[in-house]
Subunit: 341 residues, 2 copies
DNA sequence: ATGAAAGCGCTAACAA
DNA sequence: TTGTTAGCGCTTTCAT
């Protein structure tokens, strides 16, 4: 077991100073006018013995960790997992590593996690924020730490963020259903004040209001155990036999809603037309294929990481703020046929 | 913008030595017989000013980073995302953070990533290894760094690992199909020498050989673009009209296979019975519901992290080696009905 | 063009 | 019981 060598070891071995080695290592040889010959000698030796700088020490010294903290609601969720993957690729390409965690939308957990990340001096944050962490985000901002929110934002905190056009998405989807002849359209969502969900609800309401139709809203408390999400859906559906269409507020709810309907032996779309938010492999393969509001995952991930990298590279002024809203696509399939009356 | 305080600042403020502060912070006050009074004073002050130790410095000093490196094939894959989530929870519970990456089963990429993680002095590794990184894993082992492999292992490297009983799983599934009266059973898999895939293939072969039935194996080269996976599946299916059943080697292939059949307007299960490896929400919701080999994700994640934590805590002797093989469950649904002849 | 040395924040051996 | 100090490995200022 050979001990890891340090920059000192290699300086000694070559009988030169650590400074030279450091400069050479950091590509500042030219700038410091170090002889070609020395540079070559050092590089060769380093290659030979397989020297690798200790990133920890580098970070302690420079204050830069080259780590990005990624905080998503739940890494096992299809949407976030895909975002995480795309962000990861871009981050590594740019010399950053990713340390991640799932917040579960739990405010206290998130606060702890932010502190942890701070102790580790991560260079930047990508967060899908739960409610109630305004203070903590502001504190990061005050320290000039780059923060990019996504999926939802905090209305009272001036950060960069990347979101989709939630309001228009559901407005549009609801309108589509209305246009297809549906009149008793429900919206099933999680009870939450987060912007993405409240915007989606608002879009739904707006469309109904314009058409002078009645709201049918079911808010479900989020829990991990899916049984306790399916159950209220089933109950809601049973209690509202007059419904002819349902709009689901998230992909998770869409999938579970499908399960609920399967249990109830409800025929989709004959007895109930449906649209889900957030497209999903499952929706395309289902019979009938489920119409869904597709989020441009690549677009979101791309903007998120670009924004963060720009901040990291100082390409955005500190007092500037970039907010990006991306349109969605209604992937029209088979679950909302024209309704015969 | 107030500067971050260090242990020195708080020592000065309280007119005591850094040692005392350090000991108190690390809960060694009792052991070092530091006065209750001082401990209290320090703790109170720390609370007051919100002092947080710099983990970077701690790690540089102690050589322990409290970070676990998680290397999966692809974090956006349902299976790995779920494992990642469970591992994350257990890791944070135990004071570890997770830095992750996706290997894409790319040997060179993985090598680079391992080096990166090493530069960061991560305390332990959890890896679903691609082929050809035996040397690199061995090098980690030689440095007494804990490594737990999962999903597949490296036959020539003596590491801890957690895998499922792949061979029996497909043997069992294939046998089940045979028992249901199917005779021309195909196995669609990715071309790879990785243990999980070769074991699955072997299980399939064994069952067919025992029943004196012919092999129908399609190996597909893995690529990111799903079109280039669906296409060969379609071709294979078209060229082998005599098939009456298909076993898919991974969840990814199962889902894409379903798409292929949809395109071909093949009736499942009447024209083609199917079983997929690795259960999936999609399979349960499909009509017909797809029979699948369910991997015990919680069990895998649990064993993986327990093994790693035990190593980290020195509860496993260095020369000892733990390999765990977990059984799977054949989730019997509707896609393999008894075949009338 | 190269080197000496301070210091990032922390831990722990040693001293007192 | 508490304090002094070396040093983890690196970067960078200042001197030469």
């Amino acid at each position: 077991v050979k001990k890891k060598l340090s920059i000192v070891d290699i300086a000694n071995a070559l009988n030169i100073s650590v400074t030279s080695v450091s400069f050479i290592l950091n590509g500042r040889a030219k700038e410091k006018r170090i002889s070609e010959e020395l540079v070559e000698r050092v590089m060769k030796y380093i290659e030979e013995v397989g020297y690798k700088p200790n990133s920890l020490a580098q970070s302690l010294r420079t204050g830069k960790s080259n780590i990005i903290g990624l905080m998503v609601e739940d890494i096992s969720n299809h949407f976030f997992a895909n975002i995480a993957r795309l962000i990861e690729d871009r981050a590594y390409e740019n010399g950053y590593k990713i340390i991640y965690c799932s917040t579960d939308n739990d405010t206290n957990k998130t606060k702890d996690l932010i502190e942890m990340f701070q102790d580790w001096h991560v260079d930047g944050y990508i967060i899908s924020p739960p409610e109630g962490i305004e203070k903590n985000i502001e504190s990061l901002l005050k320290q000039n730490l780059p923060v990019v929110l996504f999926d939802r934002y905090l209305p009272n905190v001036k950060t960069d963020y990347v979101v989709i056009d939630n309001l228009f998405s559901t407005y549009n989807a609801t309108n589509y259903m209305i246009g297809q002849g549906y009149e008793n359209i429900a919206f099933i969502t999680f009870s939450s004040l987060q912007t993405q969900l409240s915007d989606r609800m608002q879009g739904y309401k707006n469309a109904l209001d314009e058409a002078k139709l009645k709201h049918h809203i079911k808010e479900i408390k989020y829990v991990k155990n899916t049984d306790y999400i399916i159950k209220p859906i089933i109950e809601f559906l049973m209690e509202n036999k007059n419904l002819d269409a349902v709009l689901f507020g998230t992909n998770h709810l869409g999938a579970l809603g499908l399960k609920a309907m399967k249990k109830l032996r409800l025929k989709v779309p004959d007895e109930l037309a449906i649209i889900s938010f957030d497209d999903y492999e499952l929706f395309e393969l289902n019979s009938p294929q489920i119409t869904a509001i597709k989020q441009p995952i690549e677009g979101i991930a791309d903007h998120v990481i670009s924004q963060l990298l720009n901040r990291l590279n100082g390409k955005i002024k500190l007092d500037e703020r970039q907010t990006i809203t991306i349109p969605t696509v209604l992937n029209n399939r088979e679950s909302v046929p024209f309704k015969k009356r």
